[in-house]
């Protein structure tokens, strides 16, 4: 509804009976949402409530033209709500009111018996107040006397400033009448206005009606109104018949209450009130606010703003930690600690631990692919088992133990399994692929840094654990112990474990029996030295990579060579590729023989295996150095 432009603060006559209400209204207009919210003005009919509402709206708009101000009577609000419900536009109705900066609601006593409107108003109240928007209400009686008013609305109505306006005193009445005469540009004989002011009227509106009558009489040329003629012209009114006195002794108690309300508003610590409100809000959000409540009770609390700031900071930190920790460890979801600022330090420590744990264990080597792992009769069982695992990790063969001599391709197959698992899950699986000796070293480092729990956490969170050269655990009691528990944890959780070993698990007598027996419980497969077909495939691959297409004769010749490891085969293939490069890509059986002769002329220097397990590892040690002549020939080529 539009505001009445004539109803402004400068056209409102202020007297003792309404001074408080006007001051509060002006404060509200000057800083909506900040001073008294809600402002509840109550007064009998005709004493200026609607005028004040309009004045608030106009001053607020004048000071801040962008403000969205809405003046609405309760009846109109009810009507609009009904229309919205009928048209199915309740949401639009809510939205429109929720976007207001100032809501001026007139005559809320008409909420009696309007339960739906009350519910809607309650909702609107909550929305507006939460966002610091101003609400001003008027009524002809205090909230407690509005029949059938929802208790929650009643407390909200009374939650800001409650002011009443009494009937104006004689001087104020004279001032009101004089202002009306000025507006109408009428001058009465001396004493007339004062005489009207002495007449008894129920309210200001009726008094203004009376002066209008006199103005009409005088301006219509019926002669000047005199003091003596006032009563005659006003008829019954002038005699005061049927009306109560204009200045009854208004309730002392109400007046006392109004005065006290001002004192309370002046003296309560607004910062503490804000702290209370925020505390309540945080409490409803589930945060533990015990510390704030204690601070509120304490006289030592001198700076509530600092407390609010500190608490807000803690809550922001809690929220950030909750997000981070739940991402790191979904089991943390819903933990009550995320609502307890006192648990902040503990959560920070937990976050630190989880962050460290979340550093993924070593992944498989991306260059060792399953597609490049050639399969022949000597390794097909292992390859099939690997493929089955990738298809159903943790279900088919768990654990899978692949054993075989050095250089037969165990490590390649292990990393290939890891890469395939990761790829098959779209990167969702955490695959740890680590050499046993590195595993031991990591454990030692963790023990050194007192970070054993973090280390354990890292490995316990993997989806697949692949350990190369499990025989390296020999002589490591603590590692075996830790591995035993890790193994059990992963197996219980249905996670895939793949191990490689240079020997069959049952022969790994340096390992605990409890480990060996568990290794045997899954599938143990052996990779034999490369068979003829595999040798042929491997050499063909190397040559193909070098852009050489060997004849079947050459491949046949190569496959016939005795090579105990896949690595040997690859090396021969590389030499042949080199030869092909120097002979325009053509290879003959003679070339194969030359490679063989070079190999044969190369004395094999077998280093004496030392006590260090690393040097006992054929795969990690270069055993076959070409002799001097061989190296010169290679260099010359």
């Amino acid at each position: 509804m539009a505001l009445d432009v004539r109803s402004r603060f400068d056209t409102f006559v202020v007297g003792a009976a309404n001074r408080l209400a006007v001051s509060a209204a002006r404060a509200v207009a000057q800083s909506p949402g900040a001073a008294y919210n809600p402002l509840f003005i109550y007064a009998a009919s005709g004493l200026g409530k609607t005028h004040l509402l309009s004045a608030i709206g106009q001053l607020a708009k004048q000071l801040q033209p962008d403000l969205r101000v809405e003046y609405v009577t309760t009846d109109e609000l009810v009507e609009r709500l009904h229309q919205a419900v009928t048209r199915g536009e309740t949401e639009a109705f809510r939205q429109k009111f929720a976007e207001l900066d100032v809501l001026l609601l007139d005559d809320v006593q008409f909420l009696t018996g309007r339960q739906e409107t009350q519910s809607e108003l309650l909702r609107l109240f909550n929305v507006l107040q939460r966002s610091g928007k101003q609400i001003v209400l008027t009524s002809d009686r205090p909230p407690a006397e509005i029949a059938d008013l929802d208790d929650r609305l009643m407390t909200r109505f009374s939650g800001g400033l409650l002011v009443d306006m009494g009937t104006p005193d004689y001087e104020t009445r004279v001032a009101i009448l004089r202002r009306r005469c000025d507006e109408r540009d009428v001058t009465f004989a001396p004493g007339v206005v004062e005489e009207v002011a002495r007449v008894v009227f129920a309210n200001v509106r009726e008094m203004q009606g009376a002066i209008n009558r006199l103005i009409a009489y005088q301006t219509l040329g019926e002669g000047d109104v005199t003091v003596e003629s006032v009563h005659g012209l006003l008829g019954d009114r002038g005699n005061g018949a049927g009306h109560q006195r204009l200045t009854p002794k208004s309730g002392e108690y109400e007046s006392f209450l109004s005065g006290l309300a001002v004192a309370v508003a002046q003296h309560i610590d607004a910062r503490r009130v804000k702290l209370v409100e925020l505390t309540a809000e945080w409490r409803t959000q589930g945060y533990r606010t015990g510390a704030l409540e204690r601070a509120l009770q304490s006289k030592e609390t001198t700076d509530p703003d600092a407390l609010v700031k500190e608490f807000e900071h803690k809550i922001a930190r809690l929220r950030a930690l909750e997000q981070e920790l739940v991402a790191l460890d979904p089991t943390q979801r819903g933990s009550v600690q995320f609502r307890d600022p006192a648990a902040l330090e503990e959560l920070e420590r937990l976050a630190e631990t989880l962050r460290a744990e979340s550093v993924p264990p070593p992944p498989p080597d991306g260059s060792l692919l399953r597609s490049e792992f050639e399969v022949g009769p000597s390794n097909q069982l292992a390859a099939h088992a690997a493929d089955a695992i990738v298809e159903e990790p943790g279900r088919r063969y768990n654990p899978l133990v692949i054993h075989g001599g050095a250089g037969v391709g165990k490590t390649h197959l292990l990393h290939a399994i890891g890469n395939e698992l990761a790829a098959a899950s779209g990167g969702a699986m955490t695959v740890a692929c680590v050499n046993a000796s590195d595993f031991v070293n990591e454990l030692i480092a963790a023990l050194q840094d007192s970070a054993i729990e973090t280390w354990r956490g890292r490995y316990r969170r993997v989806d697949a654990l692949l350990i190369d050269q499990i025989e390296m655990f020999a002589g490591t009691e603590r590692t075996q112990d830790e591995f035993f528990h890790l193994f059990n944890t992963l197996m219980e959780a249905g996670k895939q474990v793949v191990l490689t070993s240079s020997r069959a698990p049952r022969t790994l007598t340096d390992l605990d029996e409890r480990l060996r027996s568990r290794f045997e419980a899954g599938l143990v497969v052996e990779i034999q030295p490369p068979d003829r077909l595999l040798r042929e495939k491997l050499v063909a691959r190397v040559l193909a990579n070098a852009g050489v297409t060997p004849s079947s004769e050459v491949l046949h010749a190569v496959a016939g060579l005795e090579m105990p490891t896949a690595r040997d085969v690859l090396r021969v293939g590389e030499r042949l590729a080199d030869m092909a490069a120097s002979s325009n890509g053509r290879l003959t059986s003679a070339d194969v023989s030359r490679v063989t002769s070079v190999r044969r002329s190369t004395p094999v220097h077998r280093a004496t295996p030392s006590g260090d397990a690393h040097f006992g590892d054929r795969e990690k040690t270069v055993w076959d150095w070409p002799d001097l002549s061989g190296r010169i020939i290679e260099d010359l080529r």
């Binding site: 005065g259 006290l260 309300a261 509120l296 009770q297």
Partner: protein, 202 residues
Amino acid sequence: MSLVNYASREITCKIVYYGPGRSGKTTNLHYVYGQVPEERKGKMVSLATQTDRTLFFDFLPLDLGTISGFTTRLQLYTVPGQVYYQATRKLVLQGADGVVFVADSQSRQLDENIESFQDLHANLGNQGMDPRTVPLVLQYNKQDLPRDMIMSVDELDEALNFRGVPRFAADALHGIGVFETLRGIAELVLKRLASPAEAGSR
């Protein structure tokens, strides 16, 4: 006692009406009680003798409803004025947030007024309260009596109000000045909220 409980949004003030016997303390409470709307009326407890003299004390809880979001309660007490009820006066004074000293304006009661006022100061001191900072207002009651029987406000000021605290002329029997006095003391009590240092020294 907790004056303002921000957590539970409650304001509770204990106000004690102090003064010599028959100065009108209970009359003040009765008048207030009579003005309170029915729905807000608590139960006034008055332990009086058969001759209507306060034997122990009167207690009027005033539930003022919600003011600025705070559930506000005033607890009004009177002490027995007679000299021999010293122990009761001390007891009632405990934890008072403000004191209304009701003086009898009759000239012949001046000594009683002064004696009672001194007694108030002594009792406040005994309670560990600083009489200089405790919210205090004076009410010069019975100002409706003939001029020749009573002391004027200025004369009473001269005799009692050496601290210059707010004072109110009253005719408690007819309610004149009763609520003004109550409002005066309530405002002083509330004002102390704004200065925690002072409140803490209580």
